[in-house]
């Protein structure tokens, strides 16, 4: 089994999709290992850390990959395609459930928000992460999505423009706004870093 896994590890995402079409389970597992964490984190942030909904959507996404792999055009970039699906699933979720109305200040009730005093005590990666996530929730959907795709998932401006369906200039302007806003809100970390 390990041998088979390592056999697919050097495959590109697009090649893995071709293998999945032919019923190769190991190829699917390889693809899942590559993207499940990133997509789950992306969905969690877009859905205000509603874990149950994020898991449901992630399962829907990978089920679509299993049952309808032919929908993917192998000439396209898989990463862009899969993030587009994830983005659309989250947007549909916004519309369907009106998530924002049920949350206070843009945050899910299940999500624990660290207080400012906690952040001031010990600055660690985890605390920065918590503070960043908190500030991300305060951003608009369009600014948050672009920031996550760029600075957390590491996608290029071109890829983001394809996923979100906007031109590259708009992506840049949204990104600038998000960075400025977040940097201002997280300035305490800059002070500590010094």
């Amino acid at each position: 089994m390990r041998g088979l896994k390592s056999g697919f590890s050097h495959f590109s995402d697009e090649e893995l999709m071709l293998a999945i079409r032919q019923g190769e389970k190991t190829a699917f597992n390889e693809l899942y290992q590559r993207y499940s964490g990133k997509l789950y984190g992306y969905m969690l942030k877009l859905l205000w850390y509603n874990e149950v909904r994020a898991q449901d959507l992630l399962q829907d996404l990978f089920t679509k990959i299993i049952t309808q792999p032919h929908l993917f055009d192998t000439n396209r970039n898989f990463k862009t395609w899969v993030y587009t699906i994830a983005s659309n699933l989250c947007k549909n979720e916004f519309k369907r459930n009106e998530v924002r109305k049920n949350t206070s200040n843009g945050l899910d009730n299940h999500y624990h928000v660290s207080g400012a005093e906690d952040v001031e005590q010990t600055v660690t990666d985890w605390e920065f992460k918590a503070a960043l996530e908190e500030e991300l929730m305060k951003l608009d959907d369009k600014h948050r999505e672009v920031f996550i795709l760029k600075h957390i998932d590491g996608l290029s401006i071109k890829e983001i423009s394809e996923i979100v369906g906007i031109n590259e200039g708009t992506v840049k302007s949204r990104l600038f706004y998000a960075i400025k806003k977040l940097a201002t809100e997280l300035k305490m970390f800059e002070l500590v870093e010094r």
Partner: protein
């Protein structure tokens, strides 16, 4: 945008060139704001990705198995091969058993015992004698009546051509001193009885008929007279038997 990201890898705002400072002036215009953005950009990348729960993968694997239930073509080959092997083994076993059984039934001892039994039956047909008498007795009148019927038929035509209907008359007209009544007893399948001279029981020379006997299948080694056939010569009526075994031996294989 990649270039802008690279700019924040520098330690201080003062390290940037004027053109670079212009490029990011929307984001930061001084050292303080530069450091704020730098922390955000660099540390956001290090945010550890969250991993989905394990049961999600299990559920997806089940979905995968349901979607692609059939094994790949590679898996089919061993199955076909196993099927072929098992059928070959079964066939060879059948052949082996057939040969074994044939050999076991035709051992020399058993064969000699069987031949001896047959000879004994032929020489001492004691239990069948009464039955044979019973069967032959009612047929006697038939044998006696048959010549009368032949003589009652109209005379043959003068043209000398013997038609099938005329044949009995022609046969009756010929002298039949050589004719003998032969009684063949035994089963029809038992060919060993036929060529042997011992099996032909010669009767009185007055009888000019062959007495064909057949075996009642229900009663073993019992004989029943089917009919009495008139004939002028035994050699004429009895079909010539080809000694096929001798002929086969004479055929030499050509390589």
């Amino acid at each position: 945008m990649k270039q802008i990201d690279d700019l924040f890898l520098k330690d201080h705002y003062s390290d940037l060139t004027p053109s670079e400072q212009t490029l990011i002036e929307d984001l930061c215009s001084d050292e303080v704001s530069f450091q704020q953005v730098k922390v955000l950009v660099t540390r956001s990348m290090n945010v550890l990705p969250v991993s989905p729960p394990a049961h999600l993968l299990e559920a997806l694997n089940q979905t995968f198995d349901q979607t692609y239930p059939e094994p790949s073509a590679k898996g089919m080959r061993p199955r076909m091969f196993n099927l072929f092997i098992s059928s070959a083994v079964a066939a060879s076993l059948l052949i082996f058993f057939a040969i074994y059984l044939f050999n076991s039934t035709s051992t020399p001892e058993e064969q000699t015992a069987r031949v001896n039994k047959q000879i004994e039956r032929k020489h001492n047909p004691a239990p069948n004698k009464q039955l044979a008498k019973k069967t032959t007795a009612p047929n006697q009148p038939l044998v006696a009546e048959l010549p009368q019927v032949i003589h009652s038929d109209p005379p043959p035509s003068d043209d000398g051509i013997i038609t099938p209907s005329d044949e009995p008359l022609a046969l009756a007209a010929e002298p039949q001193e050589e004719a003998k009544s032969l009684e063949i007893r035994g089963t029809r399948s038992d060919y060993s009885v036929l060529p042997s001279e011992a099996t032909f029981v010669s009767k009185l020379p007055s009888s000019n008929t062959y007495e064909w006997t057949a075996v009642d299948k229900n009663i073993e080694s019992s004989s029943v007279v089917i009919a009495n056939v008139p004939s002028r010569k035994r050699s004429n009526l009895e079909p010539k038997r080809l000694n096929t075994s001798l002929l086969l031996k004479q055929i030499k294989p050509v390589y």
